[in-house]
């Protein structure tokens, strides 16, 4: 098992493997997005309370889920990098930050665009919104900390520590709508009893969520390849790769 991990996680092997995967990840993402958008924008019925404005849910909720999911993935990869010093794990942690920041920003902006017609305000200092804004700052903190330290391996360790400390924010965001009386509506999907949402509305939401997950892997692989090239620029495999691309 450890042998398999070390082989797959070796930069030249992963660089080659991810190059093969990227077109497929892109194709699957696009197909799922088309299905999800069709289901959400055309097939799903109008909400009896919120009218057509609820259709923002198909971006907002998957984006918010991704903002938490990517943060946990980043912290987990960071921890693996800290403990076993696996270079690929360090790279995955660092490359997750901008993608997670993108989803967090998207969740905030779409939340604002949904809040204005429904609550009458672009922004309120509500528990969930504030915690999500803090998450954006955590991502930005990780990104700037990494850029600020010249030694990439030292920087990776610092980033992993920051990401792990920031983990306290994750349960706060998740349970904020239950712990505090907030303006933000309670969960509709992740309840233990039956979700209080129509199947024709729920299905596109789940498709969009899967689409965003695969999109994350796609965008992550693209970023990891750049980062690996830069970190490994003095190694033999990168030099061979450069010679090959010159001849081609």
């Amino acid at each position: 098992m450890m042998k398999f991990i070390h082989k797959t996680a070796s930069p030249p092997y992963f660089y080659r493997l991810s190059g093969l995967w990227i077109p497929w990840l892109g194709a699957i993402t696009l197909l799922l997005l088309i299905a999800g958008l069709y289901g959400g924008l055309i097939a799903a019925p109008t909400d009896y309370q919120q009218g057509e404005s609820y259709r923002i849910i198909y971006i907002h909720v998957p984006a918010a889920w991704m903002s938490l999911f990517i943060y946990m993935a980043m912290a987990a990869a960071g921890a693996i990098g800290l403990i076993w010093r696996i270079k690929l794990a360090e790279t995955v942690a660092v490359c997750s930050a901008p993608i997670g920041a993108g989803f967090t920003l998207l969740a905030l902006v779409t939340g604002s665009l949904w809040g204005k017609p429904m609550w009458g305000a672009w922004w309120v200092w509500d528990a969930r919104l504030t915690a999500e804004l803090l998450l954006l700052f955590l991502y930005l903190g990780v990104m700037s900390l990494y850029v600020a330290i010249p030694d990439k391996r030292v920087a990776s360790r610092a980033v992993a520590l920051l990401a792990l400390v920031g983990m306290v924010n994750i349960p706060i965001i998740h349970y904020s709508v239950e712990w505090w009386n907030t303006l933000h509506q309670g969960p509709t999907v992740t309840k233990f009893d039956k979700p209080s949402i129509d199947m024709r509305m729920l299905l596109p939401l789940l498709i969009m969520a899967v689409a965003f997950k695969i999109y994350y892997v796609w965008a992550l692989f693209l970023r990891v390849r750049v980062e690996l090239l830069e970190r490994e620029r003095n190694t033999q495999w990168v030099k061979e790769l450069l010679h090959q691309s010159k001849e081609a």
Binding site: L105, W114, P117, Y215, A219, L222
Partner: protein
């Protein structure tokens, strides 16, 4: 068709949301593709220079 874009009066909010989503999602794909190309170019030039010095 017109109704579809009107979104029961919420067109601006709904379509702005989808536009911002498209912008962020596309940027996170295009950017690394461009960065990898320029990184390969940069490293190739560095390698050539190093080999000339030998």
């Amino acid at each position: 068709m017109k109704e579809f874009f009107y979104m029961g009066g919420y067109g601006f909010y709904v379509w702005s949301s989808y536009a911002v989503a498209a912008l962020i999602l596309i940027a996170n794909i295009i950017l690394p593709i461009y960065q990898r190309k320029s990184m390969l170019n940069k490293l190739t030039k560095q390698l050539e220079r190093a080999e000339q010095l030998k």
